[in-house]
Symmetry: C2
């Protein structure tokens, strides 16, 4: 994986960059407070990040998203999916990643609210909670930087727009929670409208006037889902475009196995069922085995398997982990990345991982001295 | 690591063994219930395990140990340490591992109790709780099997004997908990005596009459310790020896870093402190960084670092993990196995691991679809 070469390369270029951001003058600041430092990239799977004033620059809007998501799986899946979209437009070799710094907390709060007299910027429709749904549930901004004259310059941006698939509401304070399923056409329509408005607003900032801005639309999973939602469309907006000219469809599905409902692919389900029944008999009391299956264009392209056990001993977990590995190699599909984590109430006990190109699983048993 | 070769080798010998254990007659049982199957060994770091009657043969005595340990770290550390001792006497290439099947639950309970009229087998001294300490706190048995005439035969055993370093007791039911520190010479003396009696008792079983039995003595860590205790002596008893002829001293220490008290090695502490202060500044609110340092013969020989963060975003965790990797490569000692786990209240977020022979860390960020 040329990992060592990359690290060496980056070690040598992990130089301290002086004053960047607002002041583009390139003058060397004497204050430590304007120092920007790059984090060594340890694999080109990942972006390099930015340390500023001695700290990592955390996202300005993320705290809001955390509160907004009753199902935390929507949060991880949204951030993770958006990063994958970003990687196909802003290469990890060329761009430096910066957590969203343009849409700040109070802006995010306003945008996620309903449009009212007091909140004219609200991107959700005016109206009564019980009648008019909240469509926009979360926003994520990712900034892509390049080095110019010893400073970092914003050179690209990706915006994720999370639209509800189910609208949860109360008719009175502390009352029962009602839900309304939103149709796919509503979700698409609203996502595109909101994405367009966000693009227009971002273009008003002179830093963002001419950079490529990718807008990606995400359909939130219901609150009781064991897997996150999925991105369903994106648009690339170059040359200062103020309006999205076209949306590209994305065919992504995330499913939970074993599933009661209709499946994208029966063979995958069967393979998992075989694996599951082999593994489930190992211990007298194994609590559960589920998987998240990730489909792109109808093809399985990734799998996360979660196995929950009681608290067994170190040697029992070692044997179990070896057994799971042999069964995974026998039954689970090859050519896709697979993670398998084995947990008890005490936390993760061991885990296995195989990349799409690898033949063998990497396995690790967590231990203690 | 010859992993693939080993797996191939073992795949081919993962044959079904018929009737073993009590009946050595070698007759082919038709019942599925007496079928023994070997688990493929995925690395020679680990033993092959045994599946019997479709299930893994769990330990007969372990449940008792779980209840006996207020500090669960003593349990993991004890099991893990005992496995390491076993490996140096019963090679993972030659022996098959079986969870302890000879000392069963009720025997363990009796042995861990005080010696009384009703419990003549008790290995703890007769006496009042507030006056006479409980020395023996836990027992672990590990069985090492070889294949003979298509069945598995016990060919070696390791017994771990956990002796308290602090005795906790109440003067009255539900009363305050008092503690009494036990001296090292008491701990040694008691451990050796108890180990001797266990050896004698095991030799009475005809299966165990002539096999090598390794007895290892462990000093339990106090209940408030952030690291487990340590093994301090072992004896190898060959040729049906009924009495331990000599004990080998083991110089093992497990410490927590950063430490307030005296340290085994100041350089290790300094290296860790440098790493810690580099990493701690990364996020505005990083909760804590501690490490378990494992010393053998005064030399650092392993380290587990635990980093606790708030719940940060996927991209924040990726950047942090890359940063931790660069700092660990810069500051932490090489040539020893190092695990670093990064957790939030939501569980493990990412982890890094480097073996003693490896230059680079393996790193994994846990994600969700």
């Amino acid at each position: 994986m040329k990992k060592f070469k990359i690290i060496m390369l980056l070690m040598t270029c992990a130089l301290f960059l002086s004053a960047c951001g607002k002041s583009d003058s390139g003058k060397k600041s004497k204050e430590n407070s304007s120092n920007t430092q790059l984090i060594g990239q340890t694999s080109n799977k990942y972006y390099q990040g930015v340390i500023k004033d001695g700290h990592y620059q955390t996202s300005k809007s993320r705290g809001v998203s955390v509160q907004q998501n009753d199902n935390q799986l929507n949060l991880k899946s949204f951030e993770n999916g958006l990063l994958n979209i970003s990687k196909s437009h802003f290469s990890t070799d060329k761009y430096i990643f910066q957590e969203g710094q343009y849409i700040n907390t109070s802006t995010t709060e306003k945008w996620l609210g309903r449009k009212t007299k007091k909140n004219p910027e609200g991107l959700n429709p005016t109206g009564k909670d019980s009648k008019v749904p909240i469509y926009l549930q979360q926003i994520d901004e990712q900034d892509f930087m390049t080095q110019q004259n010893n400073s970092l310059k914003i050179s690209g941006m990706t915006i994720g727009v999370g639209i509800n698939s189910v609208y949860y509401y109360r008719k009175e304070a502390y009352g029962a929670i009602y839900q309304k399923k939103l149709t796919n056409s509503e979700i698409k329509e609203q996502g595109k409208q909101i994405g367009n408005i966000i693009l227009q607003r971002l273009r008003k900032n002179k830093d963002l006037k001419n950079i490529p801005i990718v807008i990606a639309l995400y359909k939130q999973a219901p609150n009781d889902s064991l897997v996150g939602g999925n991105f369903f469309a994106y648009s690339v907006n170059n040359d200062g475009a103020n309006k999205v000219s076209s949306w590209q469809k994305m065919n992504i599905k995330n499913e939970v196995l074993p599933s009661q409902s209709s499946k994208t692919n029966n063979n995958d389900e069967d393979a998992f069922d075989n694996f599951k029944s082999q593994v489930q008999n190992f211990f007298p009391n194994l609590s559960g085995i589920t998987a998240q299956a990730h489909y792109v264009d109808g093809k399985l392209s990734g799998m996360h398997v979660n196995i929950t056990t009681q608290f067994y001993g170190e040697s029992e977990i070692i044997s179990f982990t070896q057994y799971v590995e042999t069964q995974a190699e026998k039954y689970l599909p090859t050519g896709i990345p697979i993670d398998i984590s084995i947990s008890s109430t005490e936390g993760m006990q061991s885990f296995l991982s195989r990349s799409s190109s690898s033949k063998d699983f990497y396995s690790h048993v967590f231990s203690s001295y």
